[in-house]
């Protein structure tokens, strides 16, 4: 990278701060009350549960329909791990109701979770779900994983063109829960039942001891263990 590019990038960054309004991992999820297909709901209504809060660009569009069908088919799996689903788009409640009924007719599948009708984009803006470079009138395919205490634990953003992988979102929530429960981390492509990563030691003494602690270690910083089922 040459100096000129560096200078230009610095200038760009000063003109366009990196979206300070977008909630980030570790932030408390912004509170809201909104009209949904299940009636008026507040974010606080989901406390004590994990929540997958996701936006889609628009009702009655094909990619979104495939995503909703996939979320509906996986709904029981989310329930089994104590997670609720909440959708959102900048559409009216009547559009949502019509689309949900259409999915039920066309795919013989009920949508068992609520969808926020965010006609004024109030919640979408609060969560930074609108990506002006992608669309100024639709929400992108955003996912916020919110823990039972209301903290944002993961965020995922996909563009309008590309449907998300619902299995991966389920895996993500499961991995977060496993990390919390066992104070571990999870390696690439981890699946439940597979070994987890033991957090690396943070002192020389702990590093010396780590190798004798009975874990499976490639080296002092890279140890895994099986979780008891």
């Amino acid at each position: 990278m040459d100096d000129q590019t560096d200078i230009q990038r610095t200038g760009d960054a000063e003109e366009k701060p990196a979206s300070p309004g977008i909630p980030r991992i570790g932030d408390m999820a912004p509170l809201f009350e909104a009209e949904t297909t299940f009636g008026p709901l507040r974010l606080e209504d989901f406390r004590d549960s994990w929540l997958v809060f996701f936006s889609h660009p628009a009702d009655f569009t094909p990619v979104c329909t495939t995503e909703f069908v996939a979320f509906a088919k996986c709904y029981n799996k989310f329930q089994e791990i104590g997670a609720e689903l909440l959708g959102l788009s900048i559409d009216s409640i009547f559009s949502h109701i019509g689309w949900v009924r259409n999915i039920e007719d066309t795919f013989k599948l009920k949508i068992p979770f609520p969808i926020v009708a965010d006609v004024d984009a109030r919640v979408a803006r609060l969560y930074g779900m609108i990506m002006p470079g992608d669309s100024t009138t639709e929400t992108s395919r955003c996912v916020f994983v919110i823990d039972p205490a209301g903290k944002i634990r993961a965020t995922v953003y996909y563009p309008l063109t590309t449907g998300r992988n619902v299995d991966e979102i389920l895996r993500l929530v499961t991995a977060l829960q496993t990390a919390d429960k066992h104070t571990v981390a999870t390696p690439v492509n981890w699946r439940p039942g597979e070994p987890v990563i033991v957090p690396p030691p943070r002192t020389q003494e702990a590093a010396d001891e780590r190798i004798r602690e009975g874990y499976t270690c490639r080296d002092w910083y890279f140890c895994t263990k099986e979780l008891q089922r």
Partner: protein, 77 residues
């Protein structure tokens, strides 16, 4: 309001909750009794409370006399 339809009658989920709350219950107990997710019970009880169909006493909710009338079919104004 999600708990009341256009004719002033309570919806099926509201009816389920009002019936459960003929005996005072916590929100968690109501969710178990009605087999509804917690978030849905919280939202519904809040809406039913605004309409005076449910009241909270000492952390438990119960159906009011107005709620009993609604269960009997009296339209909510």
């Amino acid at each position: 309001m999600a708990c009341i339809d256009a004719n002033g009658k309570i919806t099926r989920s509201a009816e389920l909750i009002l019936l459960a709350l003929l005996n005072p219950l916590t929100i968690e107990q109501t969710a178990v009794e009605c087999r509804l997710p917690l978030f849905r019970v919280r939202g519904s009880i809040r809406e039913l409370g605004k309409t005076g169909l449910v009241i909270e006493v000492n952390g438990k909710f119960h159906t009011t006399a107005k709620g009993v009338s609604a269960l009997e079919g009296t339209p909510i104004i």
